[in-house]
Structure formats: structure tokens, C-alpha cells
Amino acid sequence: MSTADHPRTGFLALELDGDGAHPAAWRAARHAPTELLSGVRIRSTVLAAESAGFHVATFSDGPVGPAGSDIAARLDAVQRAAFAGPITRSIILVPEVDTVFTEPFHVATQLASLDYVTAGRAGWLVAASGSEGEGAAVGRSAVAGAGRAAEAAAAVEVSRRLWDSWEDDAVIRDVDSGRYLDVDKLHYADFETDPDFPGEGYSVKGPAIIPRPLQGQLPVVAPAELLADGLAVGSPDSGVDAVLVTAPSLEELGEAVAQVRSRGAVSVIAELDVVLDARGQRAKERLAQLDAQTPWPSNRSRYVGDAAGLVDFLSELLATADGVRLHPAVLDVELDELSRLVLPELRRRGVLAPSTPETTFRALLGLGQATNRYATAGH
């Protein structure tokens, strides 16, 4: 919680999807369209974000627009984060992963694995896709409203249980007794959806097929809209550790952050689209040119202007929000400006948390060691 007496520090996240958040961003990118879907591109963007001093990189996933108009392709988000893991040291890597049309057991395994390949720098941005098209891909129907939140809550609980299903010290390698595992430290997850679950109910047995993640529990980040009907704040089962907050305008963003914060003690991350003056062009002009190619619908508030103004705005926002996630209009262009003019000044003002090598996402969010729900006294 912020107080006037102690200037608080916050963190900055950068969304690395595609060529940027603007649908026409590919026209202003510094590479040919054919070079987008590659490891080379992941490497250059995540290294640029890390050296700029961003604390977190996020990787969007989910349906893309109709074929033809703009980018109709996207690499798997968990794989992009995994690829980034071994080549970075401090940046937290958070893929978006759907909870409605995926198998929760696979999702839990993939995210636990991501925590291993990132040395404890992984998180999970929960999505609840419900569209007819996404459902049709796997032979299921659309899911709407409370159904999506309920699916998300169930899937998060499955992961949370599976991540605890191996205690931290379950691998004992005891040569004397010939035991690699202490099976008393492995537990069945025995998850079952509630009887009033709105979708098709299911169960997951466990234990996990991978030991407990390095962080014990990966931090779970969810958009505020999913909190209402399903995901809880601070619950050990389906609880989220950080909430993404959007507002229709810059003026309303601070208030929206405060509202979510009043619901419980979790990290609050404000969402912001960013268009900056660059390449000798005013931000407004750049935006108009991109919009003329393809309109940019977005439910996030948007900063359009110079770097100095953004520094002021973020300094103020970080006094109430724990973090801000920036959605750059054009990744190649905005990242340059952010790196040159915005982050150094925010650091100078002392409003950014330090960027720590070999940190964990839990440490960045100020979360303590994750208690294991199955661990019993006497072990």
C-alpha cells in the first residue's frame, strides 16, 4: 500500500507480442514480415527488454485476427517464454495461457517446466478464452460470462494442487535405502469440479509428472474481469497473486487501481497502451498513420505523447500501482524510446524497483515462500 511518507517503487512489464500492440505495427517494424515467427526475433526483443531494465516480459496468446488483414499468426506463448529463459538472467517471463479449452494437467506441467528453464522466473497470465471459434478448434461450444471465470478458477486450482503434489524434498536419492523418491512426500491432487460447475465437470487425479516448481507456486496473474465470478484474491486454491487493471482513460486508471486494491492484498498491475514521439515524428502523427492502415481497438487507456510526459505519468501511477504493463504500439520503435528516455529517468527518480539477476517472480511481487498445502508436520 502506498503512503506519502515512503516513496514506493514499482515494476515495469512489457508485452512482447508480434510487432507491437497496434494491428498495423508490422508496417513500421525493422524486419521483413517473414522474419517475425522465429527464435531470432524472440531473442532480440527479450534481450532488448531486459537490457532496457524491464522487470517483466509478457507473451500474449490466443486467437489472432482474420487472415489477410494483419498478423494472422502467433507462436505458442509458453514456448516463447521458454526460449527466452536460458538467454536472460533477470527478466521475469510470463506467458498467457488459456484455461477454458486447454487440458489443465498439460497446462500445469508446461508452466512447472517453464519455471525450471527460467530458473524460477516464470509466471502465468491466466486467460479464459470463450469464443465460438476457439471452442470449435477442439470440438467444444462457446463459453460465456460466469462460465469462463469458473473454468479459469478450476484450472488454476488444478495447477496449484499439482504444483504442491510433490513436496520440495520429495526427491531424496537415498542410496542406502535404494529410494530415489520419498513417496510419503507425493500426493494425489484429487481435484473435482464443484457440483454447480457451469461447464462439463471433470476431475484430475495427480500427482504431477514433474517435481514441484522451483518457486513452489508460480505467481498467477489475472485480468480483473475474471475475479468477479471465479478467481479469488488470496485464496490458497484458486487465488491470484496479481491483477491486471484497465480503464477507459488515463485519468480513470489510478482510481481503477485503487478499486481493485481495496478488494484484497495482491499486486495490482495497470495496463497501458503507449505511443511515443520517435524518429522525428510526433506520437499523434505516428498513430494517425498506423490507424489509417488498420484501426486499433483497445480496452486499455492509452498514452500518446513525448517521453517526458510518460515519465511523469508513470511516476504518479507507480505511487498507487505495484506495476505497470506497457503495450507498445510498435515494439521496435517504442522499445528504443522507452530504453533511451523513459526507464533511465524513472530509475533516476527512484520509482523503479531494482532489477535483480537470479531473482524470482515471487520475490518481485513480495510474496514469501509458498506453503505446500499437502505438507504435514513430522516429515
Partner: protein, 468 residues
Amino acid sequence: MSENTDIGHGFVPSGQLQLGVFFQGVNSGTVWKAPESGSQTDFESFRQLAQTAERGLFAAFFLGEGLRLREHQGRPHALDVAGRPDAQTMLAALAAVTNKIGLVATQNTTYNDPAHLAHRLASLDLISGGRAAWNVVTTDNAWTGANFRRGGYLDHADRYVHAEAFVQTAKRIWDSWEAEAISASETAATWSAPDSIRPVQHTGAHYTVDYEPRLPRTAQHRPVLFQAGDSPEGRDFAARQADVIFSAHPGLDAALIFRRDIVARTVAAGRGANEVQIMPASEFILAATPQEAREKQAWVRSLQIGPEQAIAYLEQFWGRELSGYDPDGPLPDIDPVVEETSETRGSGFHGAKARQLADQWRAEALDKGLSIRQFVSGKTSRADATFSGSYTEIADLLARYAAVGAVDGFNISPWLIPTGLDDIVNHLVPELQARGVYPTDYVGTTLREHLGLPLPQRAESSATLSHA
């Protein structure tokens, strides 16, 4: 060795071998008790093994998958290595720290959706610059299904019918983008050419797909397909669909018989005699001299099958606790009682005729004068899959495989992680190169190029096909 090494059907031996490495991550083949046994989950173990393999010009790095933890007598199995990362997540990370080696993910057709799995495999193929492969496996048991939304749903008899429809759907997804679908320049009218992406629809007994694929072709057009099933249905499935068989027939005579069988099936399926490659699973225990190799093998075996593992191995067939028996004594004289709950599950040992098997094993052990431990060690490490000897004698032996075209290479399961390939790369590979049967550099950048596989033909353009 067979006198007649002719394979028939116009098959031409390449005279070359490729190597793959299989980081198993489960079961008794990996020694965890030695001082040099490393972590099974730390990324550094995977990085070190993959980079050593790449230094040795290996074609492929394999990861397995088991979707439920093995159990013994109703509890997780305690004695062997267990707990491993998701294959594709790990391989995507390894793609960042390797440049050439192929990355093979074992993935199940029963507990995945074709659209999602095909998308993830295409993604891995793009991220790695055309180095991905899928080792196709099937499962039918409800015991594994207990970890999944859909639960157990597939009859044993239907698993290949289901798997083949799945693979055909995946191929259509990978083929759905025209070759030059993405615009070459930022000034193009659109990012991708309109009408260059074909939606994929499938309606079948087990799943329905209506999907607009979200990834283009890759540097190798689409992921390479491996397949390991050994039943007649599995072999026919491989002959129709696979690029490489991860086979269970490593002995030279058996490998030749298997090659003839696969070539016949492949030709019958309308494909070329050389179109399906074969890489048997194998274990290498090598040293400078034959004597040292023999001593090393005895040491490895004693660490793979300790006294507890020997007893546990018999317990899964006897169906009862046998902890009162001396591992260094004869096989148990009591008869087995096999019940469903007493099997070691998840290791493929179901359904043995217990009583008959016990009698047979007792006779065999008595005849050879083997203790429980010696007997189990022999059963768990197939003699024909183990290549043990000096570097030069094993290189000579492998050169014979290459000459007659018995296999296209070997998929090696190291008994030690992460240093288990060091002596192979440092000593065996140069011997193979000196004999002219092993590459001296990577010939290209994609897995298809390493293996000498042709680019696949684009699947039929019909948008709607129905299968079981």
C-alpha cells in the same frame, strides 16, 4: 549375421549412420546412485547433454512423455528416476542454446487435441528454425485418463485408427498455409496473402476440428514424424505416416529382419523403399579396452538394478510383496497372485500370464545359475540393445550395420546424466568418422536435412475429410 543382407523392393543402403540421444528422465536405465549422477530436472543437465550431442554432430535430441506417474502396489514407484519436464517446453528452451541438433518431443495422441498439438509442434519447429519432430505415441488406459478432462475413452483396438486420423489432421494443419503466404515486404497490401490459408475441418468418432491454422510452413515444411509402436498395426501406421521409426530391434540380425518388414510395408503403402528410416533404442557402455568395458558394464548394471529394484521388479509380476526374499538368492518359490492394484502401472507391463511366466523364469534362472538381482538385471537391460566394448570394436560393429543398411542410426539412452555422452562423442564418433560411416559436419540446418529426408508433398487439398 545373416548371410543374405539383401533388403529387396529397391532399398538402397545409405552406408551412413546418424545418432540421436534420448534423455529418459524415468525408469531404471539412468543411474542415479553414482557420485557423478546429476539432476534430472535442472536445466543445466539438459543443456549440457544437448550441447555435447551437438558437438558430436548428433541428428536429434529426444524427450519422452508419460502422462501419469508410475505406481507400484498402489503408490508412486519410489526406486527409479521419476519426474521430468514437459517435452516441448524444455525443447523450446534448448532451441535457444543449440544451433543444429533436431529436437524430438514425444507427445500423446489420446490426451491432446489435434489443433492444439499441431499448433504447438509447428511453433517449436519455427522457433528452432526447422529442427522439431514429433514422436507419436498412443495410450488407451483410463488410469492415465484420470488426469484429463476427457478421462479414459479409447478402446485398445481403436488407438491406431484414432492416432492415424489425428496425424492426418495434424498434417493438414501444417500444410494449410501456401508456401509464400506471408508478405515479403511491409508495404504489401496485407500481412499475409488473402485466401492463402486453408481452414481444416474434421468430424470423427472421437473428436471434431474446425480450425483456421495460425502458423505458416516451417524451414523443413513441417515437423518430422517419429513412431515407436511395434505391433503389426503400429508398423503399418509407421509405414503410412512416419519418417523415422524409433525401433525395438537393435541386434544386427533382428534389425535386418525388421528393415525387410518395414520396407515391404512402406512399399505396400505406396511410398519409396527408403522413405521410412529406422533408429533403434540402444545403450552404449564403452571404454578403451574390451576388458575395461566389461568391468564398466558390470558396474553400471549393479547401479541400475540395486537389490530393492530387483525385488520390486519381481513384485510387479508376482503381485505380492517379496521383501522377505534375498536379492542375491534364487527366484521366489511361492506362486504369483496378480491383481489389478498390485501391478507397477505406467511401465507397460500389464497382462502377463503370471503363473506361467514365473515358472518359466524360475527354470531360466535355475538353468543359468542366476540370483534374483542377476536375473532382473538381464531382463531390464536387453543384451541386444547394449553396445559394450572398446571404441574400436564397437565402431567396427556399427560400420557393419551401415554397410548392410540394417538401420539408419541409433537412438542412445545415456545411463548417466549429464555426462553420459562424453566418451561416445570424444572417442566413438571419431572412430565412426574414420570409417566413413558418420557425418563430419552438419549438412544443413534442419532436422530433415540432417536425416536426408525429402521435403514432404503437400497433403491433399480437400478441406473436409472424415475418418474414424
